[in-house]
């Protein structure tokens, strides 16, 4: 079987596994939709000067949440579980090249990110009048694929520091929840102190959020290419990939 077909085969199963995992689908699909409803109820859905709806501004943060949940959080938890329960060791005992398996996990994140963007954009458009700019679609696509794969690599890297299945959700949330707050995902950046958001800017969540904001900016005219944010996200992604390739463990920690 060609390497390409091997990746596709594994991807098909990884997407199936994701779809059937209740925790992963809740945090990736249901929770972001709840946030869309909550934000528009709490902060309102006024009309801006140019006629766009405020709800448009909520979408990038919600998408960031969906993508990070589907990739970093999901992979850090499920891969630790699969390692500690001997599932990864079984896989390692077969002739499948490890990179095929790892690439498939990252691609699954990208597919889910695109699917969630479509779902949230369509529901946002129909229910809350979210404005969509078709000129920014190519830029949005790059943000999604680059972001999902980078955050997936970071999730795989996090399994290196997580020692047990029980610790996985705690460690992952202890890192990610504060990051959401200081990265403008839950609160607009202008509502947190400057020094807080400057700390947030050291990490990739904030830059993912800002890259997506470019695509959903109701005041933008023409395509936006947020190179600076992409570079930070990609840098973190490469760091994650190097750590994962060098230290990823396939056998239980016991």
């Amino acid at each position: 079987m060609s390497a390409f077909r091997r990746v596709l085969h594994q991807l098909k199963f990884d997407l199936l596994i994701f779809r059937r995992n209740p925790a992963a689908t809740f945090f990736t699909v249901v929770l972001p939709l709840i946030f869309l409803v909550l934000f528009t109820s709490i902060f309102g859905n006024n009309t801006l000067d140019n006629g766009a709806k405020v709800s448009t501004l909520y979408v990038p943060g919600i998408l960031t949440l969906a993508i990070v949940s589907a990739t970093t959080v999901n992979l850090a938890i499920t891969m630790t579980t699969r390692r500690e329960r001997g599932m990864l060791k079984r896989t390692r005992g077969t002739p499948i090249p490890p990179w095929v398996f790892i690439l498939s996990q990252m691609l699954a994140g990208a597919v889910i990110a695109v699917a969630m963007t479509v779902i949230i954009s369509v529901i946002g458009r129909v229910v809350y009048g979210v404005s969509l700019q078709f000129e920014t679609l190519p830029s949005l696509a790059i943000s999604l694929v680059l972001g999902a794969m980078s955050f997936a690599a970071l999730g795989l890297a996090m399994t290196v520091i997580i020692s047990s299945e029980d610790a996985a959700p705690a460690v992952t949330n202890a890192i990610m929840l504060p990051l959401y707050f200081i990265s403008g995902v839950f609160l607009p950046s202008d509502q947190v102190p400057d020094w807080v958001s400057r700390i947030g800017d050291l990490f990739p969540v904030s830059h993912m959020n800002m890259a997506l904001q470019e695509s959903y900016n109701p005041f933008a005219d023409g395509a936006a290419w947020p190179w600076d944010h992409w570079l930070v996200v990609l840098g973190w992604g490469l760091f994650g990939a190097v750590v994962a390739l060098k230290f990823f463990r396939w056998t239980p920690n016991r």
Binding site: M1, R6, H9, Q10, F13, L16, I17, R20, N21, R82, R85, G86, M87, K89, R90, T91, R92, G93, T94, P95, I96, P97, T251, P252
Partner: protein, 310 residues
């Protein structure tokens, strides 16, 4: 080319020379030699901590050894290419299936990892899981999960199958079922290395047994050969009446005070029995509950491993 015509047919699946695995000062495996011939079922018998799993993990390529020579299907597992794994099936001691998949999906996913896999449906049938193929693996019973483990190990159509304690924790029925499946592996010509701490399992399933204790090989051979090696004796016993005369000393009988049983332990059961019954007939003693017990593998094993526990 080989001069011996048999050499073309008898080949070595696993060859191990002076294998050592040290963790600091602790020698988990302390100089093991092992040879497994193609097509045979070899049981690696030992108690927990004897070094069984460490050895099998070195052979499976999961662990780097401290020293020694190892060849599995002609390749050193530490330097084996991925293609080497095409020919190897592994049932790990502890490994769960992916809970989100059905049994059938799990086998189909794994089948695609191999160049020339078995048909997944046939493999499920081989282990008797056809009727559970559409059930999520998390819903399977312990015995069914173990059968799925075996299906996953066989779906690549390997030459050599490693089974690490395949029936530990099973109820007797599930064990018998698993034994049937392992015997079926012999029928389809696979080489099998299995570890176990059950004597009856080793005796029932394997062509040869290797007994390991404290990281060293204590004995090897068929069950009968092991019994010979430890000079295992047959026990003749009966329950004498209080009024019965004492048997003559040359018979070497002694009475077990705990149950009042008279016992003769002997290498030559035929002669001892003949002398005993002759004496009994002459004296008019009836020898109630007369019993002749051959040594069990368990007795042999306990004798072999005495002083090698840790």
């Amino acid at each position: 080319m080989a001069n011996d015509p048999l050499e073309a047919f008898v080949t070595t699946a696993i060859g191990v020379r002076d294998l050592k695995m040290h963790y600091g000062d602790f020698a988990a495996v302390d100089g093991i030699d092992l040879e497994v011939t193609t097509g045979e079922i070899l049981a690696f018998l030992g108690s927990n901590g004897a070094g069984k799993t460490t050895t099998i993990e070195i052979l499976e390529g999961f662990r780097k050894r401290t020293s020694g020579e190892v060849e599995v299907l002609g390749v050193d597992p530490e330097r084996a290419p991925l293609s080497w794994r095409e020919q190897i099936g592994i049932v790990l001691q502890e490994s769960e299936p992916v809970p989100e998949l059905t049994a059938g999906e799990a086998v189909r996913m794994q089948a695609a990892y191999y160049e020339n896999p078995r048909n997944p449906e046939e493999t499920l049938e081989l282990v008797g899981l056809t009727s559970s193929a559409d059930h999520r693996t998390r819903k399977l019973s312990g015995g069914q999960k173990r059968r799925l483990d075996l299906a996953l190990a066989l779906v690549g159509d390997p030459e050599l199958v490693f089974l690490d304690e395949p029936t530990t924790g099973f109820d007797p029925t599930a064990r018998r079922e698993s034994w049937g499946m392992i015997e079926a592996l012999r029928d389809i010509g696979k080489t099998v290395l299995l570890t176990t701490h059950y004597m009856d399992e080793a005796e029932h399933l394997s062509d040869r047994i290797v007994v390991i204790g404290a990281g060293k090989i204590l004995a090897r051979g068929t069950a009968e050969e092991l019994a010979d090696q430890v000079n295992a004796q047959t026990r003749i016993s009966w329950k004498p009446d209080a009024a019965d005369p004492r048997p003559p000393d040359r018979l070497g009988a002694r009475v077990d005070p705990s149950n009042g049983q008279a016992q003769i332990d002997t290498k030559d059961s035929l002669v001892s029995l003949h002398e005993l019954t002759n004496w009994a007939t002459e004296m008019g003693v009836s020898l109630p509950e007369l019993n002749v017990a051959r040594p069990t593998l368990e007795d042999v094993y306990l004798q072999l491993t005495e002083g090698h526990e840790r």
